[in-house]
């Protein structure tokens, strides 16, 4: 909570046996009114240009998201990893990839990319010198444009007093509403118990599904034509 914003570092941060070397880490700065952070939000994935050029289908674009999230999640965040995989599989089931090509500029299948981005292992910076330490933690974070949701696996008894103070501090002083959600650890727990319903339904409720985090080359050509016609 620095300068009226919520600063979240997410993703795995250490390499085996090494010091605190960042392998891959995400960073989100949230201010009141900031748009939702979704799978199609720019910036969380930064694939090299040659990879982007090689992606010819929506299915591959989904794989890019899947791989990107897997790369951000520590191998020892098993519950978060399984939950994220189930979250994406649920989206896949609800919004199957259309037969390609051709495909229209906007397609219901692109609701997949409108889903909220699960930010793994978020560490949310607190003001310096708080009783709760320097940051609050969770297993996954979601930002829907109005509220920050922090999902943690296990029951409420998992936090030490310092961790509880950090969460209280975040709740009390964050410039945006913060919601804490305890997800069951059981592997067979229903998805509805792992994620709040509004997180799961976000993509369905999105007003206009938008293409993925990067544009397919074919799609870029379509856009160019539309631009030439003055439609965009």
């Amino acid at each position: 909570m620095i300068g009226g914003s919520v600063q979240i570092a997410f993703g795995k941060r250490r390499q085996p046996g090494g010091d605190t070397v960042a392998l891959r880490s995400g960073h989100a700065v949230i201010v009141p009114g900031a748009p939702a952070i979704c799978l199609n939000s720019p910036g969380w994935l930064t694939p090299p240009p040659e990879l982007v050029m090689a992606i010819q289908t929506r299915a591959l674009l989904r794989d890019l998201c899947r791989d990107g999230l897997a790369a951000l999640t520590s191998g020892f965040s098993a519950a978060a990893q399984r939950a994220t995989q189930r979250y994406l599989a649920d989206l896949e089931g609800r919004f199957p990839v259309p037969v390609e090509p051709p495909f229209p500029l906007f397609h219901d299948a692109d609701r997949f990319f409108a889903a909220l981005l699960p930010m793994p292992a978020p560490k949310i910076a607190l003001e310096a010198e708080t009783a709760g330490g320097s940051h609050a933690e969770a297993d996954l974070a979601f930002w829907n444009g109005r509220m920050l949701t922090l999902v943690s696996f296990g029951d409420a008894g998992q936090y030490t007093p310092r961790q509880n103070r950090a969460r209280d501090e975040l709740s009390a002083r964050a410039p945006v509403p913060v919601r804490f959600h305890s997800a069951p650890l059981r592997r067979d727990a229903p998805l509805d118990d792992i994620f709040p319903p509004d997180i799961l339904s976000w993509a369905t409720d999105a007003a206009l599904p938008v293409f993925g985090p990067v544009r397919l080359p074919a799609f870029q050509a379509d856009l160019a034509k539309l631009t030439d016609l003055g439609a965009v």
């Binding site: 296990g154 998992q158 650890l185």
Partner: protein
């Protein structure tokens, strides 16, 4: 307690338990119907059986109940509590002696525990029950002998036994498993002894028998076993009458044996595996706490060990030095952290580790009490540990110091 060593921990109180301050490895908390917190403790040996301590105010613990064993040739050592039901283990010194088994108590009136039933595990080759786990109110998982189980080696008598106590007045056996090769008549070869010991005493090391069995409601189809010199085992117990091995790992040898606890971190696919130091003066050094990668249950990989003070500094201070019990994240009024591990290390006291990087556990707090008056050895021997959901730490001395209640700033 002026000369305790500490970092980020402070002593709130100490109860010498009416002068019977030798406590085994049974610690469990009950929230009584009137809201009191009762810490139940199993004693290390006779004459006492168990003690109940009201720890509602951790700065002012009060003994509310203390019971005696039927005779001095036995010990209780371990107990566990779910709701208002308590299980107490009975282990005898000589195979064939009695009582050897588990006793169920109704502790709804904590001042007056009422015996409900006794499940007999005596037998000509059985020393009864050493350790138990009772976290779901339905099944007791324990290390017990059995009538009809004849081990190849007399120290290998306590096998994994599951007792169905859904009707606590009539407990019945639900399943049993032993490490292949340890029973007389097994087709598998007998395991090679890790550190052979003379048979003048059956207690102690050189054993392929169960110590701890941990089963969690979030993963009811798995049992995590510390099988002493047999190492760590994961069993599929979805059919308790026909349990199957999923994976195992054993650092002994070359390490000196005595795997004690196998605790899964279910949200992280990791195991914390402890050895137990069982000899004074570092005679069996090193006894370690291991971090094991369990992402693939059938290929368990050790990735680190927890740091301890140097053996040069602690090994010859007196008594045992090294790993033993950890707080086991059990359900109930209990802290269930998968980022911090709370352990007791005999003369190295109580220690807390940050394991957010499992490749590099870090010590973040410790409390090493001075030797309690009346102890057999010249150090405190922290033997077991329990952490409630408020992160109040309870630990016990093996010989004389009784119950220590600590606050950790973590």
């Amino acid at each position: 307690m002026a000369d305790a060593l500490s970092k980020n921990m402070k002593l709130l109180s100490n109860s010498r338990l009416n002068g019977f301050g030798g406590v085994g490895e049974g610690m469990a908390m009950q929230i009584a119907k009137d809201g009191r917190r009762i810490m139940w403790l199993a004693h290390e040996g006779p004459p006492k059986n168990f003690t109940g301590v009201d720890v509602t105010d951790p700065k002012d613990p009060r003994i509310i109940c203390q019971t005696d064993l039927p005779h001095p040739r036995m010990r209780s050592n371990s107990l566990d509590v779910t709701g208002d039901l308590m299980v107490v283990c009975y282990q005898v010194s000589v195979p064939g002696d009695k009582p050897a088994g588990i006793e169920m108590f109704d502790i709804s009136d904590p001042e007056n525990p009422k015996s409900i039933s006794f499940f007999d595990m005596s037998g000509p080759h059985s020393r009864g029950v050493h350790c138990c786990w009772f976290a779901d109110g339905e099944f007791v998982h324990c290390a017990g002998g059995a009538d009809g189980f004849e081990p190849r080696h007399p120290r290998d008598d306590q096998i994994y036994r599951i007792v169905d106590v859904r009707n606590p007045s009539k407990p019945v056996e639900a399943g049993r498993w032993w490490m292949p090769g340890t029973r007389k008549g097994d087709s598998e070869p007998a395991p090679e002894r890790v550190r052979p010991m003379p048979l003048d005493s059956l207690r102690g090391p050189d054993a392929f028998r169960l110590h701890n069995a941990n089963v969690y409601p979030e993963r009811p189809d798995r049992a995590y076993l510390g099988y002493i010199d047999g190492g760590a085992w994961i069993l599929d117990i979805s059919d308790m009458s026909d349990m199957k091995v999923v994976g195992s790992w054993n650092p002994h040898p070359p390490y000196p044996g005595f795997t004690h606890t196998v605790m899964p971190l279910l949200s992280r696919d990791l195991l914390v595996v402890t050895d137990e130091c069982v000899q004074d003066d570092a005679a069996d050094w090193p006894k370690l706490t291991w971090m094991v990668d369990a992402r693939k249950e059938d290929n368990l990989v050790p990735i680190s060990t927890f740091p301890l003070p140097s053996v040069e500094e602690y090994g010859h201070k007196g008594g045992r030095f090294g790993s033993h019990n950890i707080h086991e994240n059990r359900p109930g009024p209990s802290l269930r952290s998968e980022e911090m591990i709370f352990g007791c290390f005999f003369n190295a006291g109580v220690r807390i580790y940050d394991i957010s990087d499992p490749y590099r556990p870090e010590t973040i707090a410790y409390y090493v009490p001075p030797a309690p008056e009346g102890s057999r050895v010249s150090t405190a021997q922290m033997n077991d540990i329990y952490v409630d959901e408020r992160a109040i730490v309870y630990s016990v001395d093996r010989w004389a110091g009784g119950l220590y209640i600590l606050e950790a700033d973590v």
